[in-house]
């Protein structure tokens, strides 16, 4: 089983990212679960979302305490939230930043300047979902297809695919 925790501010698309990645893995034949953690619902508040992936049906419904990967969409959260809390011993931190801060020294941190890559599109979440596919050695097409399936009704398909592929290229 792979367990992923997403850190973002409410409104940045972490819940969408958690479901989108799950959708991609479902289409690849795996069992999945995606759920946000609900606290006070206000834009900008720190938020966590989770994705669980397994080869066999997922039946458990407890929270994820020891994620294998932590994805940080919003680097300013590093000063507010312990994003590495409970991280599995060989866990990976996937961070929207140019370089890893000293506070994460000693950990396996993979940096993607997702905000810069996303540029005007603002699809930081899609860039990081693409990067996550690279980190977990998943096919990028499945993720891009899932992103288009979930968001394609509102956003140009090319724009979605480009954001995912740029994130993937960054770490593959």
């Amino acid at each position: 089983m792979k367990e992923i925790r997403w850190h973002a501010r409410a409104g940045q698309g972490a819940k969408t990212a958690s479901q989108l990645y799950a959708t991609a893995r479902l289409h690849e034949g795996q069992s999945v679960q995606a759920f946000p953690e609900y606290g006070p619902e206000r834009r900008g508040a720190p938020l966590r979302a989770y994705t669980r992936i397994d080869d066999k049906p997922i039946r458990r419904h407890d929270a994820i305490m020891h994620p294998d990967v932590v994805v940080v969409l919003e680097p300013s959260l590093l000063h507010e939230v312990d994003v590495t809390e409970g991280l599995a011993p060989d866990g990976i931190v996937l961070l929207n930043a140019d370089t890893a801060p000293a506070s994460l020294a000693g950990l396996d941190v993979r940096c993607v300047p997702a905000a810069r890559i996303a540029g005007d599109s603002k699809f930081v979440n899609l860039v990081l979902v693409g990067a996550l596919a690279a980190v977990l050695h998943d096919p990028v097409d499945a993720v891009a297809d899932a992103a288009i399936e979930l968001l394609g009704g509102k956003v140009a398909h090319d724009e979605i695919r480009t954001a995912v592929e740029k994130g993937y290229a960054c770490l593959s």
Binding site: S18, Q19, L26, V32, F35, I58, R59, R60, H61, D62
Partner: protein, 385 residues
């Protein structure tokens, strides 16, 4: 027969079931965490994919009142609520049952205030335990969808004619996205069929009086008829579940044993916790421990005979309640004590998860290995027994 699995939350899955059932009337009042259900259905109506009459009411009390009127007038009626909403409508849930109104209601289980809280426990369901409404509990989003499709058939069966509540754990299921396989729309619609009740209020050829006064000369008998309807609900549910199995390949029972054969120690629980317990049972079985699970799909009616048959030869039965009863026995434990009265079973009571507190596999393991306190996950010392 079925579509491909999609990622849906429990709330979305139930909204899809409602779209397929396409009820005539949906009185609605929003409350977290059931809001995605009525919001999802309202979206389907706005898109022209469902055709029910949405009635925006001013409270849950009015939602159930409107539902009773609609259902008895001859319209298939569905609503949804949670927590304080169910508390506010509790008075009218009793009336729905006594008037034998086959209203279907989705419940996103949430702790009752106070303190105010939005997360899951079963205190809201337990508040209407004795209302005369049927209560079925889903373990996951797929089950919530499936039971929602079975619900109208059960509610409207002439031997039953009672409100049916389809309960799913708030947030844990209502907001958790999982693979869900839907029936094809036409298959679902054919399974649910047309709405028929014996004495429609709008049938002017056979005028009836409904909801009259009943003094000591009749009240007892009328209440007793509800009891008979509840008892009839068990075989009717099995029959409907069997028909549903033929369409879906997914089989439901009012009580569902898991690895109970040869078990020395079994857990009994309701709702999403059952899935987590199954994982722990598999781990402990692999280590040679004789443990199992009895999941109650139906809490009302409580399948007392089947519970007793499943558990009466098991040494230890641990009941996990996601509700308490200050000054009394936790509600599920009390049911099990009644069902197992006169057996040698060592029956134990545990309360967990109040107000949405998580239950981890290690804590379930501790129940099986007899290393758990009676209040699982409670910080500080419990009060003296």
């Amino acid at each position: 027969m079925a579509t491909e699995a999609r990622i849906l939350t429990g709330g979305q899955a139930v909204a899809e079931a409602m779209r397929q059932i396409d009820p005539d009337v949906v009185p609605m009042y929003p409350i977290t965490p059931q809001t995605p259900i009525i919001q999802g259905f309202a979206t389907f109506v706005a898109q022209g994919r469902a055709h029910g009459e949405l009635v925006d009411v001013e409270s849950e009390h009015s939602a159930m009142s409107a539902a009773i009127g609609a259902a008895l007038a001859g319209a298939r009626t569905i609503t949804a609520t949670s927590s304080q909403g169910l508390a506010l409508m509790a008075e009218v849930v009793y009336i729905a049952a006594s008037m034998r109104a086959p209203v279907v209601m989705a419940v996103g289980n949430r702790a009752l205030s106070g303190p105010i809280n939005i997360h899951c426990d079963h205190s809201d369901s337990m508040l209407v335990r004795d209302s005369g409404a049927i209560q079925l509990f889903a373990e996951n989003a797929q089950e919530a969808y499936d039971l929602m499709l079975i619900a109208p058939r059960l509610a409207e069966h002439p031997d039953v004619l009672l409100p049916v509540l389809i309960c799913q754990d708030g947030f844990t299921i209502t907001h958790s996205a999982e693979p869900v396989v839907l029936l094809e729309d036409d298959v679902a619609r054919e399974f649910v069929g047309e709405y028929r009740i014996p004495n429609s209020l709008l049938d002017v050829r056979y005028p009836t009086t409904q909801g009259p006064f009943a003094m000591p000369d009749y009240y007892f008998e009328l209440r007793h008829q509800q009891l008979a309807a509840m008892q009839a609900a068990l075989p009717v549910f099995e029959q409907m579940a069997s028909e549903f199995y033929a369409l879906s390949g997914r089989r439901y029972h009012s009580v569902e044993p898991y690895a109970l054969d040869g078990a020395d120690h079994a857990i009994v629980c309701l709702g999403s916790t059952g899935g987590t317990v199954k994982d722990v049972v598999d781990e402990l079985r692999a280590e040679g421990e004789a443990v199992g699970l009895l999941e109650l799909r139906s809490f009302r009616p409580l399948p007392r005979h089947d519970v007793r048959t499943a558990l009466d030869s098991i040494r230890t039965v641990s009941v996990l309640d996601r509700a308490d009863s200050p000054g009394g026995a936790p509600p599920l434990f009390a049911e099990l004590a009644a069902a197992l009265h006169g057996t040698e079973v060592d029956l134990r009571s545990f309360v967990y998860g109040l107000g949405g507190r998580d239950l981890h596999p290690e804590q379930i393991r501790a129940v099986f290995t007899e290393d758990s306190g009676a209040y699982i996950g409670l910080r500080g010392a419990p009060c003296p027994a």
